[in-house]
């Protein structure tokens, strides 16, 4: 809604150039990584052959998708169709890599499909909980799912090649035990978090209108993390299945890994790490000085890397040499509690603070809009818009009277009203590049939606 209300300009702010440079850097890294992996040898050649075009397809699909959101309705369909086709091709190529060559080499596509089916409900649950927490102004599903897909396909690909190179250059030459474990922990922390964080950073640079504050940052960050966790879980489950199936314990091993990755580690893992990056970027969104913004973004990345590193390094501190299964199980649970738990606690505090700030600001903006007499927001609607339950109740009332079209129209109206309030808040804080007329266009669209809903 806000996107179409903004002026169409021939020039773009510098953040688009920054996003372009970042995307180019990712692509160059992938090319270098692929060539190096072929030269060194540890990455299967076929994975490289299929993986690089996959990444190219996903990047192109993202570009078309984002362009489609900004296009005129006449050409929007064409760009979105292109994005959809490229996404499908990319997903197919990547699944070819994943199923047949890289992770599931021995387990086979059937086992990979079963593992994916097992991870899908838990990942979906994580995303639903995330959306539920984002109670004031929910992020659009399309962007949340783009973030998840990027985490699953592009970030895993980036991290996979990077970690293979790191292992070859550093870890393989280190002494077995704590030194090698620490090196692996650095590798996972740095490479995986940077690979995931880039996705959040690109969203911040390109989709500024849908990236409002610390709450949005946490939501997008966690979504990227859920995607990454989904794909990594499948990789580990199939690997363990393939390793232990000859011993007759393949299924049990895969289920055990599912428990650690998709139950215990669903919120205490990748989702939490990348949410820390998102929190840093989200706080930066509303800071006035560039130096402050860079500092908190750096702190977000550092916190994510450190949290991930701490979780991996716990193995060196506590798990090495323990043989008793009960002690191992207790220590493995404690690993999540003590290594990731404190970071999750801080994240929840930041989320609560962000929701509080956002709620107060939105209520004030809605009230001011209602008092302005524009008609976009009625005084009686302010309390409804500020309560997820009452918003839902209003939509269900529309559903009862007008069916699904009525439900959808009220839903669009509520979303547009909240966007308008968010726009007012950002303008009040001088955080907008768009001119005031953009707000008026948005207001007119709210009025049009109200007319349609009536």
């Amino acid at each position: 809604m806000i996107l179409t209300s903004a002026y169409r300009r021939r020039w773009r702010p510098s953040r688009y150039w920054l996003a372009g440079v970042l995307s180019l850097a990712i692509f160059v890294f992938l090319v270098i990584g692929s060539v190096a992996s072929v030269a060194i040898g540890p990455v299967p050649l076929r994975a490289t052959l299929f993986g690089l075009p996959t990444v190219g397809c996903i990047v192109a699909a993202t570009v078309f998708f984002l362009r489609g959101l900004r296009d005129q309705p006449t050409v929007r369909g064409r760009d979105l169709t292109r994005a959809g086709v490229l996404l499908l091709v990319g997903a197919f190529l990547w699944l070819s890599v994943l199923d047949a060559f890289t992770f599931t080499q021995a387990a086979g596509p059937g086992v990979a499909a079963a593992c994916a089916a097992a991870c899908l409900p838990t990942t979906a649950l994580g995303l639903l909980v995330l959306r539920r927490l984002d109670r004031n102004e929910k992020e659009p599903w399309r962007l949340v799912l783009v973030a998840t897909a990027w985490g699953a396909i592009v970030s895993t690909s980036l991290a996979f090649w990077g970690e293979t190179l790191w292992d070859t250059v550093f870890t393989a030459n280190l002494l077995p035990g704590p030194a090698a474990i620490t090196s692996t922990a650095y590798s996972a922390g740095i490479l995986e978090e940077v690979a995931k964080g880039v996705a959040v950073l690109l969203l911040y640079l390109v989709m500024r209108d849908e990236f409002d504050d610390v709450v949005d940052g946490i939501v997008y960050g966690a979504a990227v993390g859920f995607g990454f966790n989904f794909m990594e879980s499948i990789g580990w489950m199939t690997h363990l299945y393939a390793t232990y199936s000859s011993e007759g314990t393949g299924v049990a091993s895969a289920i055990g890994m599912w428990y650690w990755r998709q139950v215990i580690g669903l919120f205490f893992g990748h989702a939490a790490y990348t949410a820390l990056i998102g929190a840093g970027i989200g706080v930066a969104r509303q800071l006035p000085r560039a130096r402050q913004r860079l500092l908190v973004i750096a702190c977000g990345f550092l916190a994510a890397i450190a949290a991930h590193f701490a979780w991996d390094a716990w193995e060196a501190l506590a798990l090495t040499g323990v043989r008793d299964p009960l002690t191992l199980a207790l220590l493995a649970h404690a690993r999540y509690l003590f290594m990731v738990g404190p970071f999750v606690a801080v994240l929840l505090v930041m989320l609560a603070m962000g929701l509080q700030l956002e709620g107060v600001a939105l209520r004030r903006a809605l009230r001011e809009e209602a008092e302005s007499g524009s008609g976009a927001v009625q005084p009686a609607e302010v309390d409804v818009l500020m309560s997820p339950q009452r918003r839902f109740h209003a939509r269900m009332s529309a559903f009862a009277s007008s069916g699904l079209p009525g439900y959808l129209q009220v839903s669009r109206l509520q979303t547009a009203q909240l966007h308008l309030a968010m726009e007012r808040w950002h303008r009040e804080r001088q955080e907008m590049a768009d001119p005031l007329a953009a707000e008026n266009v948005l207001r007119e669209q709210v009025l049009a939606l109200r007319g349609a809903a009536a």
């Binding site: 030194a179 500092l295 390094a313």
Partner: protein, 163 residues
């Protein structure tokens, strides 16, 4: 940090997180230096003749060296210990694809290992019927002051899945 909302608590929380992160990562560097100390590179390299099928009864290797083995085939590495200084304390261990140690010898002086023509066999864990499939890595390390300080060679072989 203007208008009516106070963003300072969020800002300072992020800076606090960043500070804690730097401390954690610095602890990691200390751990690395503790267990992989700098300045221990000697330039010595243990030569691995090859990895062979291993007869567990006679304790001898047989056949030609190979890089692939079936799960039910015990195997062992032959190392030319005599090429290392006699007094150098060394050890060699096998690690499976899950980084679990599965057999090894030492630490002992290289001269002693050379006298016994010591082999480095993989030991199948007692709770398994055969070796797990995947990549097995042999690491040969030099000891100093009772702790491993330098990797002086490594070699990888593959245990293939059952057909």
């Amino acid at each position: 940090m203007q208008a009516r909302e106070d963003f300072r608590p969020l800002y300072w929380t992020m800076l606090g997180l960043g500070l804690v992160a730097v401390l954690i990562l610095a602890l990691g560097v200390v751990t690395l230096l503790r267990f992989a100390p700098l300045g221990e590179h000697t330039g010595y390299r243990a030569q691995v003749t090859g990895v062979y099928l291993y007869d567990t009864r006679s304790g001898q290797v047989r056949g030609a060296p190979s890089s692939h083995f079936r799960r039910d085939q015990p195997f062992a590495a032959q190392v030319q210990w005599g090429h290392l200084p006699e007094g150098m304390v060394v050890a060699a261990s096998w690690y499976d694809s899950l980084d679990t140690q599965v057999g090894g010898i030492g630490p002992a002086p290289a001269g002693q290992l050379a006298d016994h023509n010591a082999l480095v066999p993989v030991v199948t864990p007692s709770d398994l019927h055969a070796n797990l499939p995947g990549t097995y890595t042999l690491k040969i390390v030099r000891y100093s002051g009772g702790q491993p300080v330098e990797v002086i060679n490594s070699k990888a072989v593959v245990v293939v899945h059952d057909p």
